[in-house]
């Protein structure tokens, strides 16, 4: 299912950690990996250099694991450029990391992570890194809901990730309010709150918000 995986990397350490999930998934699926850094025009030179160093380290790690990898460094609007690359290279899934301010902001709306989820024509996995010392999950908890049409891809994704790390998967029947909540509108989020925000803030382990291709 996943033949081409793209990991969006920036100058922050947690994006490098998040990219490692992409690397392991690429290894498990035998996929080609795109390590992509799109520098915003306002980015400082120091941040640019840091991001490039992250790319380099990730590329070396991917090569060591025998993964076909390519790095992309460009400037411009990250969402627009990533979207173009996804379409051009026919990417199946994009990995990106959340940033702390994404979690602290009252509304999940308007963050780059959410834009990637809503606007990319492929599956998206947004990774919230809680623990940089334990990138080797033993247990993966997967909320499932009956009637959800994209259960096949979700199951595939979870299974491949578990295969990559040798983890046990624990599916559980989730209440309606968690799955599908990332599509909740601004007004509903303002009134009822967002369970996605709560999960981002409160879960004491790494978290992947997965949006399968529709």
């Amino acid at each position: 299912m996943y033949k081409r995986i793209l990991s969006a990397v920036n100058e922050f350490l947690n994006s490098e950690v998040a990219a490692k999930y992409a690397i392991h998934l690429a290894k498990e699926c035998g996929a080609k990996l795109y390590l992509c850094f799109i520098a915003d025009n306002s980015l400082s030179k120091e941040s640019f250099n840091r991001a490039e160093e992250s790319l380099k380290r990730l590329f070396i790690q991917a090569e060591r694991l025998g993964i076909e990898a390519e790095t992309i460094t460009e400037t411009g609007d990250p969402l627009k450029r990533i979207r173009e690359i996804v379409i051009k290279e026919k990417v199946d899934i994009v990995f990106a990391a959340t940033r702390r301010k994404d979690i602290e902001r009252r509304f999940y709306e308007g963050t780059l992570s959410r834009s990637l989820m809503l606007k990319l024509p492929c599956s998206v996995a947004i990774v919230r890194v809680a623990h940089i010392g334990k990138l080797h999950p033993k247990k993966i908890l997967v909320p499932m809901r009956t009637g959800a049409g994209t259960i096949d891809e979700k199951a595939f994704f979870a299974a491949r990730l578990a295969g990559a790390f040798g983890s046990k998967v624990f599916p559980f029947h989730s209440p309606k309010s968690i799955t599908g909540a990332s599509r909740r509108g601004l007004l509903k989020t303002a009134i009822k709150g967002s369970p996605v925000e709560d999960v981002l803030r409160e879960t004491p382990c790494d978290l992947i918000i997965f949006k399968p291709r529709t």
Partner: protein
């Protein structure tokens, strides 16, 4: 990437940290990325929201509606006293809300206690400079320095270690110091010896480590999250009260609506019907119930404090009474936590399996005592011993037997829970008591001796020789079997058995490399076994017997091995048949279904367990519908203590975190106190049922006058304010006095009440509504009509609300109800037993309550203020004497009913 499996030199690379540490800007960036290193509260309901809920539940809404209509009717039809009623109802809402809030709210201090375990500041290497920073500013990637006495601020991978020993008790529950290293480890993260965990303490040595997890991402943060996230849920009593109020509110509403409609049907005016409907609702709702429950729980908690059980949440008082399973620790709760040497065994001819302690002249025995004394970290200062209880026992015994030995400890391989043994290298300087054997004298001149003590199964395999009466002989299979047999005999008696061995060495080992340690702990000479006992608390067997009779199951948790655990359990009467014993290593592999199967057995013991396993057991038991009490004293007991229906912390040996997470604290750490508290808790439930019965009895005499008023077109015999005078005034103190009744004799001879058993069940309701209530109603109406008749009233004659005769008649009705309730208070002291058999004067509060009730009534009847507020008028004392007959009659009728119930076993 598993941080623990990386070689030390690769750790910095993987965490993207330069050799000279993070530079300040990089640290600031990581701080903004990962947040501060602090323990955070899990998002919960705010205090304001909790308080608001007290004003918006079903009963409160009903009362708000009643108040609204009262104010509306005052506006539209003034002069009927509806304004006073409206304010009175609002007052009831606030009183009830306040009391419920007091019951339910408890400031969450468990997390504050956890936060205290983290250090305020820590030494870090930043930009090549070593400096002190606030613990909250530590970020993943920081290189920290920890040394003796330091608390670890965050989870860190050790990259350089210098003899560092740590206390990991907050995470593992084991207080034995554990060594830490910098080498890679392929096993489980939590067992890794190269990780320093947040919240743990450095006992000795020092280390350099790289932080990889901060704040809530640490293992410590995980415990905090579990402790903070567990919502205790409603207690059984709270659920019952909610059910009761809903039932009552539904009955009240239905009756109000029904009689409102009926009134229209029979041609009464809107306002007459309206007043009547509001009156019916107010008469039905037991306004004083919640305050009385709260005060009764408070009194119950005071009684428990006198019995050495400190209650922290009021509702726990009653929850204790419904407990069906107690999950208890062994050491310190069932036992005294005072280890004593009970048996000694050495392989010396003549071969006695158990020799008497202290027999001088037996060299093996003397050597055994020497090892006990020197291979020991306990200390004696001015006759006072400090250290691990097992080591204190060994040290005491050794000093008593052979006197104090002076020896220089050269080095040590410390005890750890994996190896289960410790070895010291000593140079003995001087002897103690006289009569030491030749062998010992020889040792005095010898350079160094390695002494080893530990678990039998880890020491014996290291031995190739055995000491037999001064002679070192090869350890053959026959002797091994004999030693094993002696070990089994001792563990079968419930003793904790340690094995002792030694080895003479030419020069001291530095013990810096693993190979040296392996070499040292080999070819040892086996000396003997010592069996220690932690005696059970003397009250425990009786307490367990009481639990058995009360239908409460006890499940024991211990770190001891299975044989020892079973032996102790038999000694205290916890098991009689063949118990199911689940060991820690099997527990981890069991599925929930298998565990449920094991827990279905009558007798279950969990051995070789660590505290983190408790939460799983509690969770399964609760899922099976059991009401679970669990004991704990450590930080990692906190989640289980929060999850259980009753979390019980040890007052003497418990950590602050455990005490904060618990609902009850045992001030004496004694299991028997739990059983006493359960007895009190059952008594509290019984007492709540008694005063519910008492309070509900007065509903019928409040409703019947209204029915009579509606159906027979008589003047209203009891006004709404007079109803409130009973419900919120005269009834309160006697009801509270019922809450102070001692436990009935059979309270611990019945099984715990089932989850389906209701506080307000048919027998209680029918007793109040169909038996006691009608008697009181008859008394009220008798008083009413007697006064009217005496004043020349004719049937059908209307009387104004301020008419003196009318007011006197209503006063008589009210007084009749109060006097009947005075008789009812004695009747309600027991559900089945005769009031004379339980001791008439055993509860002095009853008399105080009754006296206050009557004084209050006197005030209402004779004082101008009472007259003004309640619409009453003074009546003659001869009316009191007449009405007293009803009080006595009610009591007599109830005694007769109880007699028939006892005789024919009718519930």
């Amino acid at each position: 990437m598993k941080i623990q499996s990386l070689p030390a030199e690769e750790v910095l690379k993987h965490l993207v940290v330069p050799e000279d540490g993070l530079h300040q800007k990089a640290a600031e960036r990581r701080l903004s990325e990962f947040g501060p290193n602090e323990i955070k509260e899990v998002k919960k309901k705010s205090l304001l929201k909790k308080l608001t809920e007290q004003f918006t539940h079903f009963l409160a809404i009903l009362l708000w509606v009643g108040a609204f209509f009262s104010f509306l009717s005052e506006y539209l039809h003034p002069g009927e006293g509806m304004l006073t009623l409206g304010f009175a109802i609002v007052g009831v809402i606030f009183i009830n809300a306040g009391f419920t809030f007091i019951q339910e709210h408890r400031a969450e201090k468990a997390l504050a206690a956890l936060r205290k375990m983290l250090p305020a500041s820590v030494r870090v290497l930043r930009g090549g400079e070593e400096r002190e920073v606030l613990s909250a500013d530590i970020v993943p990637g920081d290189i920290i320095f920890i040394s003796e006495g330091d608390r670890v601020p965050a989870d860190a991978r050790i990259i350089q270690a210098s003899g560092i020993m740590m206390n990991n008790a907050p995470l593992t529950g084991e207080s034995e110091p554990v060594p830490r290293t910098s080498g890679s480890f392929e096993g489980e993260f939590i067992e890794s010896p190269n990780i320093a965990f947040a919240g743990t303490t450095v006992i000795s040595g020092s280390a350099k480590a790289v932080v990889f997890a901060t704040g809530m991402s640490t293992e410590f943060g995980r415990i905090a999250h579990l402790t903070g996230a567990v919502e205790p849920g409603l207690s059984p009593l709270q659920k019952e009260i909610i059910k009761v109020t809903r039932i009552v509110a539904a009955i009240a509403t239905l009756m109000g609506v029904f009689f409102f409609a009926l009134g229209f049907f029979i041609g009464r005016s809107f306002w007459e019907n309206f007043i009547f409907a509001v009156g019916i609702i107010v008469a039905n709702v037991p306004e004083g119930l919640l305050p009385t429950v709260t005060l009764s729980l408070a009194m119950g908690s005071q009684r428990m404090a006198k019995r050495r059980a400190l209650i922290k949440t009021l509702t726990s008082v009653e929850t204790l009474g419904s407990v069906s399973v107690i999950c208890t620790d062994k050491t310190g709760t069932l036992t005294q936590n005072k280890m004593e040497v009970k048996r000694v065994w050495t392989a010396s001819p003549p071969r006695h399996p158990l020799i008497k302690e202290g027999s001088v002249g037996n060299s093996s025995h003397d050597m055994l005592m020497k090892i006990s004394q020197l291979c020991n970290n306990a200390k004696s200062v001015d006759g006072k011993y400090t250290g691990d209880p097992t080591e204190i026992a060994l040290l005491k015994k050794a000093v008593e037997t052979t006197g104090e030995l002076k020896a220089e400890r050269i080095s040590e391989i410390p005890f750890d829970s994996e190896r289960k043994r410790m070895t010291t290298i000593n140079k003995v300087i001087s002897a103690g008591a006289e009569g030491l054997s030749t062998l010992n004298s020889q040792l005095l001149t010898s350079s160094f001796t390695a002494f080893t003590k530990g678990a039998f199964e880890t020491v014996l395999p290291l031995c190739s020789n055995v000491l037999m009466n001064g002679i070192v002989a090869p350890l053959d299979d026959a002797m091994r079997r004999e030693i094993s047999g002696a070990h089994d005999t001792m563990t079968g008696k419930g003793l904790r058995v340690l094995a002792f061995a030694y080895k003479e060495i030419e020069e001291s080992y530095k013990l810096k490399v693993k190979s040296e340690k392996l070499e040292l702990e080999s070819d040892l000479t086996f000396v003997g076994l010592i069996g220690l006992e932690d005696p059970p608390r003397p009250e425990v067997p009786e307490a367990i017997k009481k639990c058995r009779e009360a239908g409460i199951r006890i499940i024991m948790f211990t770190g001891d091995n299975s044989r020892t655990a079973e032996a102790i359990a038999r000694e205290i009467g916890l098991v009689k048949e063949a118990p199911v014993i689940v060991e820690g290593r099997d527990f981890i592999r069991m599925t929930d279904r298998e565990l449920r199967g094991a827990l279905d057995n009558k007798e279950v013991i969990f051995s070789r367990m660590s505290p983190k396993h408790k939460m799983r057991v509690v969770s399964i038991l609760k899922g099976e519908g059991e009401r679970v009490a669990v004991t704990g004293d450590g930080v990692n007991d906190a989640p289980a203590l929060k999850m259980a229906d009753i979390g019980i912390a040890m007052g003497l040996s418990g950590t602050d975190v455990a005490k904060e997470a618990a609902d009850m604290i045992l001030l004496d750490d004694n299991f028997a106190t739990i059983v006493n508290a359960i007895e009190e808790g059952r008594a509290v439930y019984e007492n709540i049922r008694k005063f519910v019965s008492y309070i509900f009895s007065s509903n019928i005499p409040e409703i019947i006058p209204y029915l009579a008023y509606a159906i027979f077109r008589i003047p209203l015999p009891l006004t709404i304010m007079q109803i409130l005078a009973v419900d919120l005034g005269t009834d309160m103190l006697p009801a509270l006095a019922l809450g102070a009744e001692k436990p009935s004799p059979g309270v611990m001879k019945r099984p715990p009440r089932g989850p389906k058993e209701r506080l307000l069940n048919f027998p209680t309701l029918s007793r109040a509504y169909l038996f006691l209530g009608p008697i009181e109603a008859a008394a009220g109406l008798f008083g009413f009509f007697y006064v009217l008749n005496s004043g020349g009233w004719k049937w059908g004659e209307a009387l104004a609300s301020d008419n003196t005769l009318y007011m006197q008649a209503t006063t008589a009705c009210l007084t009749a109800i109060v006097i009947s309730q005075a008789g009812n208070i004695f009747a309600c002291r027991s559900m089945r037993e005769s009031a004379f058999s339980i001791g008439f004067f055993t509860n002095r509060l009853i008399f105080i309550g009754m006296a206050v009730e009557l004084i209050l009534q006197l005030f209402i009847v004779y004082h101008p203020w009472g007259n003004a507020v309640f619409g009453t008028h003074p009546i003659g004392f001869r009316i009191w004497f007449m009405l007293a007959i009803f009080g006595i009659s009610l009591f007599a009728a109830e005694e007769l009913r109880k007699y028939f119930v006892r005789r024919y076993s009718v519930v």
